[in-house]
């Protein structure tokens, strides 16, 4: 599989916060979930990829080409949905669309209209009167109406109800069915990724903690539960995170085989993405 996006040695220092030597790549045809807690650096990295934040150093390649040197050509192939929308709210959806559409060489008005119809939006409605879910749908319609190859979304499900979130995940799954399409979206709502993600990238405090296929991640890690008496200095080292209570313990391990061998009577379950995320970022 080709790498559709390659980020190498990305650095950005804001003084109070820093993105430090970030390296990752996205594979073509995959849905990559970019997870981390609030303030981890997800939005900063996405904005750096899009050229909204000026990086201090590093290279960003899209479809094998440096984005700095091929900006117009590459942005024609990306659809973007930002968390805050960044729409001119005193405009109608139709007015906003008329400005966005002319930027793209492959804008497809029929595709846009079909999305608007299926989302039950009215183009003459002012953007300021839209609910959060409607704005997200409108953003999706704009992002998917120019035959983009890569869909980048920053916290698209933030603040949305479960029904709309589920609809969005279905839209993403529909989009990815077409050959050569890829999706990259950031979220701190890990349950969304359980449904759709192929690859997970975890970021914390401006650093990439892991980048792995979701199924491999879930297979290689285990949620271990058992009695406290099996814990000692040696067995504690087998865990990425450990939560001990009066009655027992619960922990995440990447060494399931060793745990089985050294700790009798414990239960090893399949963890959730949230369990793994919290284990890596050091929370209980």
């Amino acid at each position: 599989m080709n790498n559709i996006l390659e980020v190498n040695a990305l650095k950005k220092d804001f003084g109070t916060f820093r993105i430090d030597n970030v390296n990752f790549s996205l594979q073509e045809g995959c849905i990559t979930g970019f997870i981390g807690i609030n303030g981890a650096g997800k939005t900063t990295i996405i904005k750096s990829i899009l050229g909204l934040v000026i990086k201090d150093s590093g290279s960003i390649k899209l479809f094998g080409k440096e984005i700095d040197k091929n900006e117009r050509e590459l942005k024609n192939r990306i659809g973007v949905v930002l968390d805050e929308g960044y729409f001119y709210e005193n405009m109608t959806m139709s007015e906003m669309k008329s400005i966005i559409a002319t930027a793209y060489s492959k804008w497809d008005e029929s595709v846009f209209k079909s999305y608007i119809e299926s989302f039950k939006l009215k183009l003459n409605q002012k953007i300021s009167t839209l609910s959060k879910g409607m704005r997200m749908k409108y953003g999706i319609a704009l992002a998917l109406s120019h035959h983009a190859d890569l869909l980048i979304m920053d916290e698209p499900t933030s603040g949305l109800d479960p029904l709309v979130r589920s609809e969005l995940m279905d839209i993403i799954l529909d989009f990815i069915k077409e050959y050569g399409k890829s999706v990259f979206f950031s979220t701190h709502i890990t349950s969304d990724l359980d449904k759709v993600a192929d690859v997970l990238i975890l970021i914390d405090k401006g650093k990439i903690m892991l980048s792995e296929e979701k199924d491999i991640l879930l297979d290689t890690h285990g949620l271990v539960k058992g009695d406290k008496n099996v814990l000692n200095d040696h067995t504690r080292k087998l865990f990425l995170s450990l939560n001990e209570t009066e009655y027992g313990f619960e922990g995440i391990t990447k060494q399931k085989t060793s745990v089985r061998e050294q700790m009798n009577g414990v239960l090893i379950e399949r963890p959730t993405i949230e369990n793994i995320m919290l284990a890596y970022i050091g929370a209980k």
């Binding site: 904005k47 899009l50 050229g51 909204l52 934040v53 000026i54 900006e71 117009r72 050509e73 942005k75 024609n76 990306i78 973007v80 930002l82 805050e84 929308g85 960044y86 729409f87 001119y88 709210e89 005193n90 405009m91 007015e95 906003m96 008329s98 400005i99 966005i100 002319t102 930027a103 793209y104 060489s105």
Partner: protein, 215 residues
């Protein structure tokens, strides 16, 4: 592409276009009666044009500051350069719209509003470009909020103080005459060329500032 971005600015300012149109019509009449002195049309035209530009650009800048729509536009194939260029083109279009309305008023209104000759129009354009040539890079650097207070002071100063200064100069028989030792054609073209140079320098500065800004 630039056309859509200029259209964007018109849409952002559309709520005030009608009021400013009325002002463009009424303003020269007021200035003619207030000054009661022939300045070749400069003092009848320029303060009005500057105020209209200031209010319209201010409205657009305020909307940009509030909604940050240019952030989304920068994720599209629109470049930051084109966003800046479109703003300068918008300023020029508004100026020439003002000129057209003023010229119509000189023919329509019976009180004798001075017609603008080529040289006076050029001087007006030059002064406008100097004003926005300084304020636009400052706005791109420091933001609309800080810039608006400075701009407002300068505008008010020009609008209310300058006519009184002119009246004083006239009453004391003080006149300024600058002669450029070239043919009339060159003299007429000179302010336009200077305005173009200053405008291009300002636009380059604005592009440089905006290209380094985190959105």
């Amino acid at each position: 592409m630039l056309f859509s971005l200029v259209k964007k600015d018109f849409i952002l300012g559309k709520n005030y276009l009608l009021i400013l149109l009325v002002f463009a019509v009424v303003g020269p009449i007021y200035m003619t009666t207030a000054i009661n002195f022939s300045s070749g049309g400069f003092l009848n035209f320029f303060p009005i044009a500057l105020l209209i530009e200031f209010m319209l650009i201010g409205t657009v800048s305020m909307a940009e500051d509030k909604y940050r729509g240019s952030t989304l536009l920068c994720t599209t194939p629109y470049t930051r350069n084109s966003l800046v260029k479109a703003r300068y083109i918008f300023i020029l279009i508004i100026f020439f719209c003002n000129y057209i309305i003023y010229t119509i008023m000189t023919f329509v209104v019976p009180i004798g509003i001075d017609k603008l000759d080529v040289f006076t129009l050029g001087i007006s354009l030059l002064f406008l470009i100097v004003f926005f040539g300084i304020s636009m890079p400052i706005e791109y650097r420091f933001g609309y909020e800080k810039m608006k207070y400075i701009s407002l002071c300068i505008i008010m100063l020009f609008f209310f103080v300058v006519p009184n200064i002119v009246k004083w100069l006239i009453s004391n028989n003080i006149r300024f005459k600058i002669s450029i030792p070239f043919s009339p054609i060159i003299q007429n073209l000179f302010p336009y060329v200077l305005a173009l140079v200053i405008g291009l320098i300002s636009m380059s500065l604005s592009i440089g500032i905006y290209s380094k800004k985190n959105l």
